[in-house]
């Protein structure tokens, strides 16, 4: 290719137009597409090795603490956001340009080919990869009509057949396999549509997560989300105004058999209002069975325990009475949580600790462990703190982290950390006179709310694209010629075929064709088989 690309002018003084054209031709060449594909594969690898912000922001932070010297460099080069990094985007955008630059000219060529007639037979048919010669008594016109009938193909997939006749000779030209290139084009167009659809979904869509405790509700407004991410063109005012009332959360586990302790059923149920004031409708969400409201889907992506805790301060006022979600850390639902009591007097109170659904005393006498995720013997273990929770200075605080900068841990009379261990219904008194009671045990559900507009586009496009892909891989474009000339001993018939994409079954197919031709001409198969030859080289 390169020799022709230079013809625009002397190489060092390429005009900007020629240079542009040269770049374009390079970019849209098959070789470039291939290299970009391989580059894309390599560029995707780091995202599976290094944690990604878009997938698990907490894992990224943990990674950064573990690798303090390497991380800033990784971050600088976008390794924690591989799939939105400039270099990854550059590769797929170039690939996209290359793809479109390939589709457009090929579509033009294809449309032209659709209108074109099958080409004339080459002069020396015996040079083609598969050819044969035989002699029959039938006239050239009879041979042509027999050949046309044999080669016309099935009605639903007709081949293009031209017959040229003049008294003493005839030529049948057949071209088939147009669907191959059609399938090819359809598949590549579908990839473009998938990318457009995915980009649209990312720009206009949103995804958020919220923890909702049994017995409470959720309204679809930004402030109710624990996590929220949306595309650049999404407007928070467009959030559909639905709300949920969560009446029931079920988490069941296998109690026997080989899967003991494994999850058996997760379910959340309650009522949903599609807009304020609408009739509440019952809903049920399970894993794999999201709830669809107004173009948005609500998924159950997690669940855990939310013990109800009641705190009275040393002055005897009930200053806290609420369910506190404890986040599960493993398959036994050993969970961590934090209680913040800003209203306690004279000092604010904070608690940090764990929840064990089925606690047993471990080998190390002191520590209990959970042996089963169901709540058979629930226990809360807490440490207590007093001081300033740091909630007032305006910096956003996670409800799952206790900021201990201005807190002091409460100690017992021996000067050890004061430990609280409670079963449901039990109450503990702190050395400072405050009390905390494990009043009730509820479950919480973690919902993911997501909207991916335009998702039908990529799904439909790729489904059609696969059909195109199959066509492009299965259909064989083939040209066949049958030429006959009246000779002294009868009509000399030459048959030859050429595959645009070489395949090894061409000779077998030619044998088959000769047999059917003999059949159509009413001669024994041995007549057509006599001078059959195969060539190695096309």
């Amino acid at each position: 290719m390169s020799s022709r690309e230079r013809e625009g002018g002397p190489a060092p003084a390429l005009g900007s137009r020629e240079f542009g054209r040269w770049i374009w031709r390079q970019l849209t060449s098959m070789r470039t597409a291939l290299l970009l594909l391989l580059l894309l594969a390599i560029a995707a690898v780091p995202g599976s090795v290094v944690p990604q912000r878009g997938v698990d922001a907490r894992a990224v932070e943990a990674y950064m603490t573990r690798n303090p010297t390497l991380s800033p460099w990784l971050d600088r080069f976008g390794f924690f956001d591989v799939y939105t990094s400039p270099w990854f985007s550059a590769i797929y955008l170039l690939l996209m340009v290359s793809l479109i630059g390939c589709i457009l000219p090929r579509t033009r060529v294809y449309l032209k080919a659709l209108r074109a007639r099958p080409p004339k037979a080459p002069k020396r048919l015996e040079r083609l990869p598969a050819s044969a010669t035989f002699t029959v008594d039938a006239s050239p016109a009879e041979v042509a009509s027999a050949a046309r009938d044999v080669l016309r193909g099935p009605r639903f997939l007709p081949a293009r057949v031209d017959v040229v006749e003049d008294g003493d000779s005839s030529e049948v030209r057949v071209e088939k396999g147009y669907l191959r290139e059609l399938g090819n084009l359809v598949f590549h167009v579908s990839i473009v549509l998938v990318l457009i659809g995915v980009a649209g979904g990312a720009l206009f869509g949103y995804r958020g997560a919220a923890i909702v405790t049994q017995g409470s509700g959720f309204a679809n407004v930004l402030t109710q989300y624990d996590e929220f991410a949306s595309g650049a063109l999404f407007d928070p005012d467009d959030l559909p105004p639905f709300s949920l009332q969560l009446d029931e959360v079920q988490a069941r586990f296998w109690t026997d058999g080989p899967q003991r302790g494994a999850p058996r059923l997760f379910r959340a149920a309650g009522t949903v209002e599609t807009e304020p004031g609408a009739d509440p409708q019952p809903f049920e969400i399970r894993v794999n069975q999201p709830l669809g409201v107004d173009g948005t889907s609500v998924f159950l992506v997690g669940q855990g325990y939310a013990p109800v805790l009641r705190v009275t301060d040393p002055e005897g006022n009930v200053v806290f009475d609420d369910a506190v979600p404890f986040l599960p850390q493993d398959g036994t639902y050993t969970s961590n949580g934090v209680v913040q009591v800003p209203d306690a007097e004279p000092q604010q109170l904070g608690f940090q600790g764990f929840f064990l659904p089925t606690a047993v005393v471990g080998e190390d006498e002191d520590a209990s462990v959970s042996i089963f995720p169901g709540a058979v013997n629930p226990i809360i273990g807490l440490f207590a703190f007093e001081g300033d929770l740091g909630l007032d200075d305006g910096t956003p605080q996670s409800v799952f982290i206790l900021d201990k900068t201005n807190l002091t841990q409460i100690l017992d009379e021996d000067g050890e950390n004061f430990r609280i261990s409670l079963s449901p219904g039990q109450e503990a008194e702190l050395p400072n006179g405050a009390t905390i009671e494990f009043a009730d045990l509820r479950l919480f559900a973690r919902f993911q709310v997501a909207s991916t507009p335009l998702v039908e586009l990529p799904l439909v496009a790729i489904s059609v694209g696969i059909l195109g892909l199959v066509l492009s891989l299965v259909v064989r474009p083939r040209r066949t010629w049958v030429r006959s000339r009246r000779g002294s001993a009868g009509t000399v018939v030459e048959v030859a075929a050429l595959d645009r994409v070489p395949r090894d079954d061409l000779p077998d197919d030619l044998d088959d064709l000769l047999e059917r031709l003999a059949d159509a001409l009413g001669v024994p198969a041995s007549v057509t088989r006599s001078e059959h030859e195969e060539n190695d080289q096309s």
Partner: protein, 317 residues
Amino acid sequence: MSPETLAQVSNYAVASATVVIALAFLAHMAEWGFARKVDQPVEEEATVTVGAGAPAARQSTAAADDDAPSRPDLLSSVGVSLTGLGTVLLLVGFVVRGFAADRVPWGNMYEFGIGGAAFALVVYLVLVRVQAIQWLGGIVTGFALVVLGMAMSTYVPAGPLVPALHSYWLVIHVAAVMLAGAFFLVGAASSLLFLIRHRAEERGTVGGLLSRFPHSAVMDQIAYRTNAVAFPLWTFGALIAGSIWAHYAWGRYWGWDPKEVWAFITWVVYAGYLHARATRGWKGRRAAIIALVGFLTFLFSYYGVNLFGSGLHSYAT
């Protein structure tokens, strides 16, 4: 029969299948060993460049024209017969496992391993009938043994599924991916032998063992056809069915989970292979290397991701 008995029957069937397939592997190894000793004169076809590869397809059957089949040929058919028997046993183990657990038998890495091996062997045996690819027997049975061994190392008793897997997409997604993997395996085995024999052909040193394999052009064609079947299956199973199911189970279609990343990489590399076969300078050797790299990425997305990473697919370990 009770589920426990069925599970036991399944385990016995899988164990005996492994033994029989090991014997089949040994038969193929012996076939190759004897073929090395039979020092046939190098056929001159090695120096002829074959375009379509048509004549070469016939040469393989005509290799031993003597009245009695040669010892390697005999061992080859013993190997194929044993593979057939082993596959039947494996299928029994696989299906009975499904009855024991009362669901499709591909809910964890152990089941995915025996299922994957069974799919691969069935595809291979069908292609032995259709395309006469028994020359791949040594590689396919050897690979099946490795997969079965890896499956044993992740054995779990038959049991119910976690809620995340309660979906008919489990049937579609995993079946399509296992089938794609089976074709990828045959394609990769052909590409590997293609590379070895292609080099020998260029040096004119095709003899002994290598003359048992078809001409490199034939193996290239087999590799292309099987990968051409596998690629749409992979597109459908891993990318489409996978992302639809991810939507229902995890609330998003595509989230760059490690398994998703590697499924994507596999797809891109095989797309590269299909392009390479149509690019001048990349046909043949380089394309075959890309196909092998593609198979390695497939193996990594099947096994490596579960081994090294956590990710959302971790229940599959």
